[in-house]
């Protein structure tokens, strides 16, 4: 037992030495993962706001489209949608460019990752925003109108800040899921944190150590996010906190 314990020691020092060599690669992977997550978040929020607007719209066709969007996207696994968009859009696009006689356009894994994750999490954000919009009292819309604000002004200055307070818990949960879902994009070949850890682990014969390292970095990212979310909740909860128990 003690022999085994002692033999573990050199592997740790060995790992520290290899880690030194692979640090730039790992950092690049972390940066790609963070970029991917943030850009998908932005796209997802945009999809979510549009979707929520459509769901609460008076036009029946809009409501139907939004309902179809959220039902289909939330009923199908994200990985499947990612593969469908990655391979499918590529096939469709190359057929289109061929028909038009244009040069071959290749979609890179990063943009198709952002597209897919934004599209998928947009459906979850739609539900969050819809609930949050409904939670803002109707009088607030009317008050904004009565003050002579246009619809956009009213939304940006009156409705949005109040809506965010109701939306934040849901958005926070979705962000955590989205952050972890970025790991899937390595399956379609993006050199993100997971991929980089696998490459470094295989070439240095220390796969487990590098995978654990990647897991630790994800843990760090989600811990930092939950701190930021707590800060945001405090910011948007100003003036209401006292009354809640």
């Amino acid at each position: 037992m003690t022999g085994e314990g002692l033999s573990m020691l050199p592997t740790f020092t060995q790992f520290a030495a290899t880690l030194d060599g692979f640090a730039p690669l790992l950092l690049r992977g972390v940066w790609i993962t963070v970029q991917l997550a943030l850009m998908s978040l932005l796209l997802g929020l945009a999809f979510g706001l549009l979707g929520a607007g459509a769901k609460l719209s008076r036009v029946r066709a809009w409501r139907f489209c939004a309902q179809l969007y959220t039902t289909l996207v939330r009923g199908v696994p994200d990985l499947l949608l990612m593969l469908l968009i990655f391979y499918g859009v590529q096939t469709g696009l190359s057929r289109l460019t061929q028909a038009l006689g244009w040069a071959y356009i290749e979609i890179d894994p990063f943009s198709s990752g952002v597209l897919t994750l934004g599209f998928i999490y947009g459906a979850y954000f739609t539900e969050t925003f819809r609930g949050a919009l409904l939670a803002v009292p109707r009088g607030q819309f009317q008050a904004a109108k009565a003050l002579g604000m246009t619809a956009t002004q009213g939304f940006v200055q009156v409705i949005f800040p109040q809506m965010m307070r109701f939306a934040l818990p849901g958005l926070g949960n979705n962000w955590m899921v989205l952050l972890k879902a970025t790991a899937l994009v390595s399956i379609i070949g993006l050199a993100d944190l997971v991929k980089v850890a696998q490459v470094a682990g295989k070439s240095s014969q220390q796969l487990l150590a590098f995978l654990l390292m990647a897991a630790l970095i994800y843990l760090l990212l989600s811990s930092v996010s939950s701190l930021v979310l707590r800060g945001l909740a405090r910011r948007y909860g100003h003036g209401v906190q006292e009354s809640s128990p």
Partner: protein, 236 residues
């Protein structure tokens, strides 16, 4: 499209002739990992709400680790990471277990859903109305009897709506199994796509299957909630 269905309906549904594939594999992965996960979560959730720090702290770390990292990384660790250690390969028992892709996959899935389920159940236990516990105490229930007869049945019922989300989530997560060569629905779709280049049709067929399972599960949970959560809404 017709040809694709003719050629691939069998692997998509149950078997490619040698082993269980497609829908059958996906359902097995989902139900087995949910069962193991729930069995794990029952004792862990009780430990999670315990006021004894040595009992609560390890469970809290477990759920923090498994909920804070992607399932894909966990699967990679169990499937390729652990098996890359020489000591594991030399030990016959461990070698036998970790050599099989399906074992590693189920282990990763079960621990992952176990961690989420633990937190769901712990939340439901914490939300128990104090009056109910006091009433049971006054009737002479205490210790494990309190848990077996009152707290756990109630917590399991109350967590149904949250657990249904976790079940759908787990179903969708089983698609990761193909990265460990386990032939689930998505693996069959990928094979069909690679062989026929009918991308939209192959993945579309898989998507339709997943949609059917999702709707069936949502329907089942709606029935279950109507049956077991009626006491929360006596007006109906």
């Amino acid at each position: 499209m017709i040809e694709l269905i003719q050629d691939y309906w069998q692997p998509f549904i149950y078997s490619d002739g040698q082993q269980m594939t497609g829908l059958a594999m996906t359902l097995w992965l989902t139900s087995a990992s949910l069962c193991f996960g729930l069995l794990l979560a029952l004792p862990l959730s009780i430990a999670r709400v315990s006021s004894r720090r040595w009992l609560c702290w390890p469970v809290q770390s477990f759920t923090y680790l498994f909920r804070g990292t992607p399932l894909y990384i966990q699967l990679l660790i169990f499937y390729t990471g652990i098996y890359s250690i020489a000591a594991v390969r030399e030990q016959p028992l461990l070698d036998g277990f970790f050599r099989e892709a399906i074992n590693c996959t189920l282990l990763a899935f079960a621990l992952n859903t176990g961690a989420y389920t633990t937190e769901i159940l712990a939340g439901a236990i914490r939300a128990m109305p104090r009056g109910e516990i006091e009433a049971a105490r006054s009737l002479g229930f205490d210790g494990w009897k309190l848990y077996v007869h009152l707290i756990m049945p109630s917590a399991l019922r109350r967590s149904l709506p949250y657990y249904s989300n976790e079940v759908i989530f787990m179903l969708h997560s089983t698609t990761l199994a193909f990265t460990a060569t386990v032939p689930d629905i998505l693996k069959v779709a990928r094979d069909a796509n690679a062989a026929t280049f009918l991308t939209f049709q192959s993945f579309g067929l898989a998507a339709a299957l997943y949609l059917c399972i999702t709707f069936a599960l949502v329907g089942l949970f709606r029935l279950a909630e109507r049956r077991w959560l009626r006491f929360l809404d006596p007006g109906r």
